[in-house]
């Protein structure tokens, strides 16, 4: 196995631009240093810690759901104590199942898949990768995290209100979400808290996106042209532009939803609805309007979750293949193309929603067109592995695993993008399999790759590789055992969002559900390896050098962890692109972006 010791040497000689250190004296006091810090690195770590907390909650919720789906009559130990109303005697009620499902989806999409790969890693690394001292607006950056944290608290509060959390799913379709208590338990205060939480979350992400865009455009170091930005920077930059547009639509949508619920307006509720034997006091609204607003955000959100993964994999892969990524300009062009197209496809969530059936083709064609850049990037990753001398670190394995699960998840998109096939597969487990593979598992693999790769930079210590490889191997097999069978369920017509399968035609599928449940519990348990590694390495891991992976981008030109102002009073001058692998540089087969020497191809 062609592995190298993780610590081949210190700094490469680098060009620096002397600048007066301004404004970024080390903060004093615990609160200013660790809690209300304006340092993008601390804020990035806070986002990652928030995502870690959220993912534990989200994963436990998915276990509870899976247990119930496999054995609906079985009591789950401890659940009765957690919610006496939702799970009397430990057996969850149908409405509690839906509540857990709603919270699982919301927590995972917003507080894990958006915060970790985008806000977390992006915050820590983007300023360093462009050679800046900090974000353009450090105070707004701090506010963005604390607003996001507030949103998280508001959402979690829904668990503790008397009627319990909302049950209308992470998509919160109106009128179920808009008419209040009459629509069922959890649709009272719980649903209002949900809408408030998501609205607050949007504010946090809008501030973050503005910061990312401004920092990328205005604070790049000398020589850091747009073309020399690392792929990860490009991905975060593109994602922040997508986020700026997407969250600025979801925010007013949440405001309108809250107004419908508490102020008697009727944006999403038409006249003549009789719910719980009560004629609803609304008139003139449209349930499809909510769906359009939600998915106008919701589909770009998929790319907000996955594009950072694209960037992370494109950034990390060359460091371990020891050769340049294939087609670097094409990769960046594809990121941008995906960003643009992500706004033209939202209606593919609504083929059978009752919108004008003529518009199906309008949304179907861009949906298939967007698979072209995605396929190109995927093939370029695969082609980049060709003829490589792989250093199979855990980070590299998660990159390769990312490519595999992204292929698996992307392929099922070809089915769902076609309206005629969607008639049958819509709202089945085929869809659940598709989006879990493509934006759940693939995005998680991107996060894991980033975590193993950047941990030394963030905490100054190495993670344990042996534990990491076990984590990868078991997770990789586990996720396939969970999500591949869901395609088969979907083909057999198994509908989603059912708390129990009482229909005759679903009975034969229950054994397959039990298999998935066991695989989910196993894969979830495997994540303990990651958590142990994370906490152990944070305090006990071997010290990391500045550039343990022999990588090229600017974050590896500074110490691990970086000083408060990132480059210790100097500003790097960038001489090269980030893709200079397989060349003969002063310290090895690579050229750092800030290295003054020019490389010669080997």
């Amino acid at each position: 196995m062609p592995e190298r010791p993780a610590n081949p040497g210190g700094h490469a000689p680098e060009a620096v631009e002397r600048v007066p250190a301004h404004g970024h004296a080390a903060p004093r006091g615990f609160l200013r240093t660790h809690v209300f810090s304006v340092d993008h690195k601390v804020i990035g770590k806070q986002y990652l810690d928030l995502a870690l907390l959220a993912v534990v909650i989200g994963m436990v919720l998915s276990w509870l759901m899976r247990l119930h789906l496999g054995w609906p009559k079985a009591a789950i130990p401890g659940l009765g104590a957690l919610s006496a109303g939702g799970a009397p005697g430990g057996v969850m009620t149908p409405e509690y199942y839906l509540s857990l499902m709603t919270m699982h989806g919301t927590i995972m999409v917003f507080f894990v898949l958006t915060t970790a790969p985008f806000a977390g890693f992006g915050n820590f690394l983007l300023p360093i990768q462009v050679g800046a001292e900090d974000m353009a607006f450090p105070r707004l950056n701090m506010m963005s995290f604390w607003v996001t944290f507030l949103a998280f608290l508001v959402l979690i509060a829904a668990f503790f209100v008397p009627e319990g959390p909302p049950l209308s799913g992470w998509t919160a379709y109106a009128p179920l979400s808009a008419v209040g208590r009459d629509a069922g338990p959890g649709q009272g205060l719980g649903q209002t808290l949900w809408a408030a939480s998501i609205g607050i979350f949007c504010i946090g992400q809008l501030l973050g996106s503005l910061n990312f865009i401004t920092t990328t455009l205005d604070l790049r170091a000398k020589g850091m042209s747009l073309a020399r930005m690392p792929f990860s920077t490009w991905a975060w930059f593109t994602t922040s532009i997508i986020g700026l547009i997407a969250f600025s639509v979801l925010l007013p949508a949440c405001v309108l939803l809250i107004l419908d619920r508490v102020a008697g307006t009727s944006f999403f509720v038409p006249a003549g609805l009789v719910i719980s034997d009560r004629l609803q006091p609304h008139a003139g609204g449209s349930p499809l309007l909510w769906q359009h607003l939600f998915w106008f955000f919701g589909h770009p959100e998929v790319y907000i979750a996955i594009l950072p993964g694209f960037g992370i994999v494109s950034h990390i892969l060359p460091a371990f293949t020891r050769k340049p990524l294939l087609g670097p300009r094409v990769v960046i062009a594809c990121f941008i193309a995906i960003g643009f197209l992500s706004y033209a496809v939202w209606g593919h969530h609504m083929f059978v929603s009752g919108m004008n059936p003529f518009s199906a083709t309008l949304f179907s064609v861009p949906t298939l067109v967007i698979t072209i850049p995605a396929t190109i990037v995927t093939l370029l990753w695969i082609g980049s592995v060709y003829g490589a001398r792989l250093r199979l670190t855990t980070a590299a394995l998660f990159c390769l695993g990312f490519v595999s699960v992204f292929v698996s998840g992307g392929i099922s998109g070809f089915f769902l993008a076609q309206p005629s096939i969607d008639i049958y597969l819509h709202a089945t487990y085929f869809v659940v399999a598709h989006f879990h593979f493509v934006m759940g598992v693939a995005a998680m693999f991107g996060i894991f790759a980033g975590a193993y790769f950047w941990f030394p930079k963030i905490y100054g210590r190495m993670m344990n590789e042996r534990l990491g490889k076990w984590h990868f191997a078991l997770t990789f097999i586990g996720v396939y055992c969970i999500f591949m069978p869901m395609h088969y369920l979907g083909l057999a017509g198994n509908v989603r969002r059912y708390s129990e399968f009482t229909d005759d035609y679903l009975q034969p599928l229950i054994p397959l559900h039990r298999f998935i449940t066991i695989a989910a519990l196993f894969t979830g348990a495997v994540q303990l390896l990651f958590f142990v590694n994370l906490f152990w390495s944070r305090f006990r891991g071997p010290r990391a050098s500045a550039n343990p992976w022999e990588a090229t981008s600017l974050e590896w030109s500074t110490s691990s962890p970086p000083p408060v102002d990132n480059f210790g009073g100097r500003r790097p001058v960038v001489e090269h692109g980030p893709n200079e692998y397989g060349v003969s540089g002063p310290t090895g087969d690579y050229l750092m972006q800030a290295a003054p020497e020019s490389g010669r191809p080997t």
Partner: protein, 263 residues
């Protein structure tokens, strides 16, 4: 580790693909006139997507396998990025887009073409957590539906007003969707409370009920029998248990059933 990764990816790919190809879990038999188009479209896509899936995964596994040999020199992919761009555009851009345009015809026959003139009209109401079906009765005209007059206790599910509305008096309301075989059925879907959906896997048909809208839907069943209608739009706590049956009958049996149901 590299070779192990390659073996695992290959094994996962082949096992997954084999289960698809062998139809271990598959769609129930189609019992509709237009469903064959969907099944055909699905099969064609399965072949195209399956080939892409297997090729991409095996290429990844193969390249990782080869790169585990540290004596090989580092090499660039022959031709650089261009072949990948061309391949992706050819495979996805042409193949899948052509498939979609073909599929548009299938979609059009189901959702764009109007119901045939002789179709049987049935008014369907979805509510938490049941479906109700209404037939026009001997006069061939549906009575008006008034949400404010809905009274579940009096089994007035549609809010009919037989006292003042003569066309409503002979309307037949049932909890089962009885239909004659080989005759087109034109449904009008209305929601009493929140969004629901009408999904019959055997009929290859799915459509949401939208509160505030009356949504048309038509299909023709080609086999007699009893099939499940399930709700696929999250509608509240009883969502998982919201179902009804469609009973496809011979025309004679259907006529008799309609007479038996008359109020």
């Amino acid at each position: 580790m590299g070779k192990l990764f390659a073996v695992v990816v290959t094994a996962i790919t082949l096992v997954s693909a084999a289960i698809f190809a062998m139809h271990v879990w598959w769609l129930p038999p189609d019992i509709s006139r237009l469903g064959a188009g969907i099944d055909h479209q699905l099969s064609e896509t399965m072949v195209a997507a399956g080939v892409l899936f297997v090729l991409a995964q095996l290429a990844l596994a193969g390249f990782v396998w080869r790169s585990a040999d540290s004596t090989r020199p580092i090499r660039r992919f022959p031709g650089g990025a261009t072949p990948m761009v061309l391949l992706a555009t050819a495979l996805v851009g042409v193949e899948i887009l052509v498939l979609t345009f073909v599929g548009t015809k299938v979609w059009g026959r189901i959702f764009l073409a109007p119901a045939a003139p002789g179709a049987l009209h049935v008014d369907v109401q979805a509510e938490q957590f049941a479906f109700y079906f209404r037939y026009a009765g001997p006069d061939g005209t549906f009575g008006g539906a008034h949400p404010e007059m809905i009274d579940e206790a009096a089994t007035n599910f549609f809010g009919l007003d037989p006292a003042n509305d003569t066309t409503a008096r002979d309307d037949v309301v049932a909890a089962t969707l009885a239909i004659p075989v080989n005759r087109e059925v034109a449904l009008t879907l209305r929601a009493k409370d929140v969004s629901h959906a009408f999904y019959v896997p055997d009929l290859r048909i799915q459509q949401d009920f939208v509160p505030g809208l009356v949504v048309p839907l038509h299909f023709t069943a080609t086999q007699t029998g009893k099939f499940e209608i399930v709700c696929t739009q999250l509608c509240g706590l009883g969502h998982y248990n919201m179902r009804a049956y469609v009973e496809v009958m011979t025309p004679e049996a259907f006529d008799q059933w309609l007479i038996d149901q008359a109020p």
